[in-house]
């Protein structure tokens, strides 16, 4: 596509890097921004810059956080003896939105998939084990809330193996979630029910 201005071209190129946005959509957004007053674009860019430069990850559960420790991990009203292991932030938010769960989380930051070169060392598995090992945490239950895909199942199996020597209840969320389904897209009722009726993992 030919652009009348290098400024427009640069903006379109940057915006179209975002997932799900092609050049046409990017151009529409750029033109929209130009029609608004300057302030709104400045607010937008400021928010993005702050997001990227100031964001922190909770050093306990790897949730996104404004502080060293996120507000779930630091809350006295949450049950710190239970950890729910999820793949990523959207999955954590999906479970939070069910309002059925009062424990803490642990974000793995991905899922085991050899094809994509993602192995256990690329995930936050060690820090999970450390959390459990640390007696003062008194963790007595781990819930594996991973997508019911082959990769989710493989990751759950691997974690179960790593956790089997601890005095813990390890469970996986009940599969009200369609097989092959991604957690993030499950509706809240299904997801809420799955959390409540989680099933214990058999040590194999």
């Amino acid at each position: 596509m030919q652009y009348p201005s290098k400024l427009i071209e640069d903006a379109v190129n940057e915006i179209s890097q975002l997932p799900g946005i092609g050049k046409k959509t990017a151009l529409r957004l750029v033109i929209h921004l130009l029609k608004q007053d300057k302030e709104s674009t400045l607010h937008l860019s400021e928010a993005l810059v702050n997001l990227r430069t100031q964001v922190k990850y909770c050093k306990v559960c790897h949730n996104i956080s404004d502080e060293e420790v996120c507000n779930i991990c630091s809350s006295h009203r949450r049950d710190h003896t239970v950890i729910c292991v999820v793949e990523n932030l959207p999955d954590l938010m999906a479970i939070e939105n069910t309002a059925q769960y009062n424990g803490t989380y642990h974000i793995l930051g991905g899922i085991i998939s050899p094809i994509e070169g993602i192995g256990p060392d690329d995930l936050k598995i060690d820090s999970l084990i450390q959390r459990i090992k640390n007696r003062s945490n008194e963790v007595n239950e781990v819930i594996l809330a991973l997508s019911s895909t082959m990769e989710g199942d493989t990751t759950a199996f691997y974690l179960t193996k790593k956790l089997k020597d601890f005095d813990l209840k390890v469970s996986t969320i009940a599969r009200g979630i369609p097989v092959g389904g991604e957690l993030e897209y499950a509706d809240e009722i299904t997801l809420g029910r799955s959390i409540l009726s989680r099933t214990a993992y058999l040590h194999g």
Partner: protein, 368 residues
């Protein structure tokens, strides 16, 4: 099932074409390169949303044009359907049923089934096991959609396991906790797929044998066997004990992905000892058995496309085939032949039921 007409735009060597097929038997004759096979391929697109010959869709757009479009009207029992398949250069292929585009094109496949027999089919015999597995997998998937799901899961698990093997070999330290779930998936799904294949072949073989006998007047004895490592009672433990070798080769050496179908003539491999005519007869019998199986499954007759089928068959076998056509064992048929005189002679007895079309460099004309 009946294809009532077809119209093409910018498809291979056809700029525009509109033709009606009121009859059951349709013969396309014309010189080499005139476009007979291309017209069959357009019908193939309407049924299976892709070419039978060139999987690169945009190479089927007419040279120097930027789109193709194929439209056809089908009749199944008394219901009518319009199918359109079109491709704009640099865009996604669009398939529409009654003007409504599919979200997932794969949902179209199986609605208007078709069996094509063409000269490349002897690759099933002469080529590697992959082609034979694909031939049977496609048929089994059509009767049992769960089979296709299992097969796709299996292949995915296999790819994951092979990547893992490579990583293990590079790091020199295999982690059994990582590979165990993939082993389990491959074994569980492998046994399911193996069972489905065995069951299917048991059903398929008698139908196939009947067709071969009929074509050859029992001149020669042929056989078809399904072979698989999974028949061994100790397969699972052999599979697990093979890890070191798998790691060395970066690939899973045992499993249903190594299954094969063995074709023999008088107890010798057909691949090496069958004549061209015998191999061709074998393929025709395979395809006619496929036809019967789909027909039973769908409870209506698929289209049958016969591309250059008469070459290499002796008069007797041609006569047998024609007898089957005459007995209306098949529904609508599309036949190509580069030799109009032969076709005319072959179809002499069926004149009333048939239309003969002459194709000349992308144009079609019905011959009285």
């Amino acid at each position: 099932m009946h294809l009532e007409n077809i119209s093409l735009n910018c498809f291979k060597n056809y700029s525009t074409l509109e033709v009606a097929f009121p009859k059951e038997i349709n013969c396309f004759v014309g010189a080499n390169g005139s476009g007979k096979t291309n017209l069959l391929d357009a019908i193939h697109y309407l049924s299976l949303t892709k070419s039978a010959f060139n999987i690169v869709d945009n190479q089927n757009i007419q040279h120097d044009k930027d789109y193709f479009s194929i439209r056809g009207n089908f009749r199944v029992n008394t219901k009518k359907y319009q199918v359109q398949c079109s491709l704009q250069l640099r865009q996604k292929k669009v398939v529409k049923l009654n003007q409504k585009p599919y979200e997932k094109i794969s949902e179209h496949i199986g609605k208007f089934p078709l069996v094509l027999i063409n000269p490349h089919d002897t690759d099933i015999i002469r080529g590697g096991g992959e082609g034979r597995r694909r031939f049977f997998d496609v048929i089994i998937s059509q009767i049992d959609p769960a089979y296709l799901g299992n097969l796709m899961q299996y292949n995915h698990g296999l790819k994951q396991r092979n990547s893992l093997l490579k990583q293990f070999a590079e790091s020199g330290n295999p982690d059994m906790d990582l590979i165990a779930p993939y082993d389990q998936i491959i074994l569980d799904l492998g046994h399911k797929i193996h069972l489905e294949r065995s069951r299917f072949v048991t059903k398929f073989v008698p139908i196939f044998e009947q067709h071969y006998k009929n074509l050859s007047e029992q001149k020669e004895h042929t056989s078809l066997h399904y072979t698989s490592e999974l028949v061994q009672p100790d397969f699972d433990s052999r599979f697990r004990h093979n890890l070191q070798r798998d790691m060395a080769l970066h690939r899973t050496g045992l499993g249903i992905h190594k299954d094969d179908y063995v074709f023999k003539i008088e107890d010798y491999p057909l691949k090496k000892f069958g004549s061209q005519g015998q191999q061709k007869s074998f393929v025709i019998a395979l395809k006619l058995a496929q036809y019967d199986i789909i027909k039973d499954q769908k409870a209506f007759k698929p289209l049958l496309l016969l591309d250059d089928i008469f070459d290499k068959l002796d008069d007797f076998r041609i006569k047998k085939l024609m007898q089957m056509l005459g007995e209306h064992k098949f529904g609508q048929i599309f036949v190509t032949d580069a030799r109009p005189e032969r076709t005319r002679a072959i179809f002499e007895s069926l004149k009333s039921d048939m239309d003969l079309f002459l194709i000349e460099s992308g144009n079609i004309k019905r011959i009285e």
